[in-house]
Symmetry: D3
């Protein structure tokens, strides 16, 4: 299929992600207020893509991000190494008391009729302090990189992070690197970052630099201000609504060659029907539906983006 | 023994503490960077005194503090109830992303030659926003309270928390309530709060309102600027140095009637020798030495303050 | 909807329950004979209603019950405080060997085609020693109570507990408090307490004092001796059989203004379809059916009673 | 060494114990009132000897006891088989509610300065219902048994259990089987079983049938009414006091050929110095002292009895 | 129903199995490469039948197998005792380094769309060294045995194990003992044991001695070289294909009187539809279909064989 | 101090180890035969040195070893990455059944008077198949390596592994890389590898290529056949015996410039006194004694070698 762009055949790195590394406090199926024991996972929407590609698919990937010199930073750095992701760290010193911090996301797994609950402590987060100039993109991309990935979570962290995304994408394009962006619209994050108007302004500027966009119809509406369809979908697994919005997207952003999203019907917290749909340079691709027994839905969208990018990188 | 003051014989509450409630992330004996599972404990230097007095000694106690309406706040509130401590909460709403937060303290237990490691995420902490006027002290103390307790950790959180301590102590004294203060000097906290000079200024103003002071010679030096002794102690269990400093203390702060501290010789993380010494209105009291097998030393000083206050409340 | 009675608009307590506190030994999905580790939960059919209303719905509730002064009693008392339920305890001393005991219920969670197994050690149970005169109902209800709840489990424990239920309900009515009773028929409990004949006699006498009755058709038959319907239901979710029995109930007990029950189709231990139906002063109310992924079914009926009472208390 | 009796050289069973099987609820180092998770161990003072001899030393042993047909009984029976102990069960049916029960012992492990806490629910215990005639001793001993063991815990359970002990010992002697008895005086058990006077009467009658007696000076005083020594021991590891009492013992009970006990100095819950001493047919045997790091002291005395009997059986 | 053979009505043992005991390393639902903690289960296809019959159905069973004198052997022997299975061990000494070993099977539980992964370390396995002459079958069967069971896993371990199976079956038949064999075809095991040709040769020789054969159509094809049906089944629960192959089986092996198998439709790792079908001396028996919530599928076929044999033994 | 050789000041790798990677099955303080749950650790005497230097000291290290393509290999490879050790793998395919395997070491932690128990399943171990020619040493050392480390465990695995050690050391010396070797004499390993005579022959040939030798007096005697001292040491912490043997060592192996060892007095499994002594090019270095609370002694000697090499690399 003609993608509308050419992915470098080889490189020292298959993908570089730019995004925050966070530690997730996870009480499993117990709601937070009743829990006494927790697992800590290392996560981050943009990082997850680099991690999945390295750990599940054996690609060579890297994460450009902030790292704080304190034990939580060390914990996170060990897991990044374990996943086989090359670290490109801008380092910060912790003052012992208030930060800068590796952010915390609190998220349980939910159960049955109870959905997962997600909230953050991103106060004084090191990753939000990242700014243009912090990474030497020319050197990073100069060694041969095939793909650059970022997303809306990192873009929402501060004014400087969204500027950094654009800086990185421009450097990527200069080096012939394909750029993807996962809109990943999070009400909570943007609410404290200027609201939906600022989201649209910030994300709109970023998307002008994107080759491959990931996001569902709600992301397209809330992140970029596109109009939703006039007719109702027969089900959440119906790709019609999503595909019906693409014309607007590619008209405004002719640089975008691919738009893709998952389609999910959430029966219970532990049972989802999943499908996916992509608009690829004018063509429609619709995945078969899969019945999933779900242990923990957090990060599911990042998993989709990972697999989708893998298939593109693998031809 | 004549204490130099009179404790109310009865009241609806035996003690009210003022301080922050925090949640401790505890990986046990595993260092943070190697840990994957954690217990969450509810703690707080000032709260611990109220909790111990209620849970171990059956007294009626309360905690005046900040509480955030989000699941970590709910978790903390449940444990406060479980300990039998009456909550007096100034409530805050969480924005889902950056706070205000119930602070996090990360602390492992150490092992053998490895001491516990302690660091915080107190960024945008709700308790630091507490300020004079937030609590109706006249009503609180008006129902009959025997003792008020606070400490240096809470005083260090912000300009307004130290002002709030003084406001509370003045209201307490007006109502005939005894006031104790645990200096609890923490280098890390004051370093980001104006340093040792500000510590001395802030704590000095508070201590002018105190009847019972808890702190060792290092606390007295760093918190209040007293001079250390010229001669070396034969051991950390020797009460001489501590007692040698008291004259300076009571000259500058004649309101103080009791000064007490633990004396500890730390052989390994898991084996301490403990004693305690008090200057009580001119008399010296020296506890026998006890060999302790130590599971987790964090909060040990609060335990001492609890037992010491209990014995005073119990005559 | 006209309920046929008037619930006090306000009070210092929204609900007082009378019943036994027990500790549940729970091996999770492992059958008892293969298990080596267990969780202990604090439970009790009547207590669960007070606990759910306090913990989930934020009401002010209390439990009147027996409490034994020994470590298992302390464990239970801590959980009661944690749930925010006010304790009204008649206290007993433990002899170290044989009791009186806080009763044990052994109950696993079952799995798939294996249902949970439930059995007791209620021998020499403190709660069974409760008797008329043990609680000062006039004082308890005099401070303003909106609702009183009890159930068939507590009534079965001894001759004196059923007498105590009637004493409490009479005092409640005198104070204008609404009385609910959950029949909760348990074959095992009544088998050792005089059998079904005595159950009918005891429960019949209690129900004469009840405003709101909770129980399904089997409860109505076994507890109160009503006749079952002549025709078979199309499914366990069909409310017809239950509603068809109500005429008999309200004829014999005109004091009863509401009868309610869950309707459950148990597909496997981990998948139930739930609905509920109520006869409310001549009207029928039928809840929609909900597909539940079930972690642990024990206490499900108490959860229904809690939600049902909450909705009545909340208008 | 001449023991004063002759142990059968061989047999189908090396030892038969008579005693109750119990399940221990063990929260580890957490005190009960703070614990939420527990291990269940199968224990019983008399059983432990049979279990240790089978599991650690490879002997063929059996336990004669009560077994209840319910899941806790099944759990216990599996562990008995796992230990390689042959069951000789008198079976009881459980009524689902009150018993007869396999007794519960609640016992934590203590920590440092906190000693283990032990209490029971032996209400309506099946083993207490055992009585003369329940076991066919002639058949049991007729197949070749070398040793019979019982102890003071089982003897205290009821009037019939002490009678059963004597019945068993008489049958044992008739068959040439050596009889040992561990006094194991437990204040709590005898307090609810007629007190120390009854203990002396019951145990005195049993001891008339004993060849090998296990017990320290306190056991000898409280169980059998012997006078303690007039002089104080230099330490708990000094065998003098114990040996000084033996003369009284063998004068009153000339049938006793061996008396043995541990000598323990408990420094902390986790550090004991252990030794042991025995009077063997007129000779003194004194074991070297061993410094023990103690994980869980419960059952330590049974371990000593096991090793001591093993050494006698092994010549 | 006329089975075509007569099962001994009684015996000192209901069943003797011959097969390897292994220890399974089980990380639960976590894939091996991400796991850090594991349970060890004792397993073995042939042993599982003896264990289920003893533990679930209360029969008297035994396992004839190899046992190594080292701690993993001790661990395994304890579990065998716990299950109530009589051990008949040919013992081997471990050299501390390379064996002979009790084999390891590594098997997780899978989850949802991820099936369990199974692989082995059977290198230098003690059970593979078992050979004709290692067991005194005449004595074993001479004491009264009703049934002998073996299977294809044990037969694949070495040249001598398949010879031992035939030796045992011939001795069994001489003593009037019924012989069953579960084909249990495992690609991985035969691949390293001479491949499918050798499988057919070895298993064909064994099956000539079998009364009751367990295996599905795939087992029949791969183990014995029968031809599969020409038409496709409507579903995996359709017994047609299986029954259609029986004619070939009984023509070639007229000694076989019963062939039985499960029929399974695996919807996800955690949801199977199960049925079973048997050809019994010319008659067809088809079990109803059961929807199973599956915790761990490993050993499911052994469970079927156990229940099937139980029903035959129980008439 | 003049070491007698010159360590390269810099390089792309600070150290390369050659040795086997194994997975340790660890039941903690529970003896194997009683355990049901286990942790898996990745270990290996030679690897541990590379891992400690990377993880604790931040050096750049690598491990040259065998890696098997199967889930246990994947598990091990992830931990190697997590520790920050660069993998240099010779890869093997697993046959699903018998190997080649990543070896298993079974080792508990012991407790108090019970020492740890260690045994292996090294049957058909991939690392034992490593042989000269498997690694391209010239390329590995050509990129700049400062130190090469190996030990007696790897040397004992097979004839080819000891040859490989010599090949590697010769290549190292050619490239100016310092060579260390830890004798690590293991009775169990050599017993099945030709015994002590072969050990002496194999290890003697290796040691001719060594600059820095690690081993205590027992290692020197058993590995290399040196004579022990004529006089007894006052304690195991006395360095006299060790130093007294050095003259023999350096006379026979003049290439050796440093010999070092730990000195340990094992009071209990959980309490050791540790010291260390080194002969450095004619000088004696004796470390102070340290009282260690020991969680798990396995790998302690590797920890010493790591710290010792670190101090040499760091000048």
């Amino acid at each position: 299929m003609n993608l509308g762009f050419t992915i470098p055949k080889s490189g020292t790195l298959d993908l570089v992600s730019l995004g925050a590394l966070i530690h997730r406090i996870d009480p499993g199926i117990i709601p937070f207020r009743k829990a006494t024991n927790f697992a800590i996972h290392v996560s981050g929407g943009e990082y997850n893509v680099a991690a999945n590609l390295a750990d599940c698919f054996g690609l060579r990937t890297a994460i450009a991000t902030a790292m704080v010199n304190y034990p939580i930073g060390d914990l996170i750095a060990e897991r990044v190494r374990a996943m086989g992701v090359k670290p490109i760290y801008r380092r910060f010193e912790h003052d012992g008391t208030r930060g800068p911090n590796m952010a915390t996301v609190y998220s349980d797994q939910g159960f049955g009729v109870r959905a997962p609950v997600v909230f953050y402590n991103r106060s004084n987060e090191a990753a939000a302090m990242l700014k243009p100039g912090d990474f030497d993109w020319d050197t990073i991309f100069g060694k041969g990189v095939r793909w650059f990935h970022c997303g809306g979570i990192f873009a929402s962290l501060s004014e400087t992070t969204s500027e950094l995304v654009i800086e990185a994408m421009r450097a990527a394009h200069k080096a012939g690197v394909i750029c993807s962006f996962d809109l990943n619209y999070r009400e909570k994050l943007w609410k404290t970052a200027g609201g939906s108007d600022r989201a649209r302004q910030v994300l709109g500027a970023i998307v002008e630099n994107v080759d491959v966009l990931v996001g569902n119809e709600e992301d397209l509406q809330k992140s970029l201000g596109f109009q939703g369809p006039e007719i109702a979908a027969s089900s959440k697994l119906d790709p019609g609504i999503f595909l019906g919005m693409i014309q607007q997207v590619v008209e405004r952003y002719p640089n975008i060659k691919i738009v893709a999203t998952t389609l999910r019907e959430v029966h219970t917290t532990n049972h989802h029907s999943w499908s996916a749909v992509a608009w690829v340079n004018g063509h429609h691709v619709h995945a078969p539906t899969c019945e999933l027994t779900v242990l923990d839905r957090v990060g599911g969208g990042d998993g989709f983006a990972s697999g989708f990018i893998y298939s593109l990188l693998n031809g």
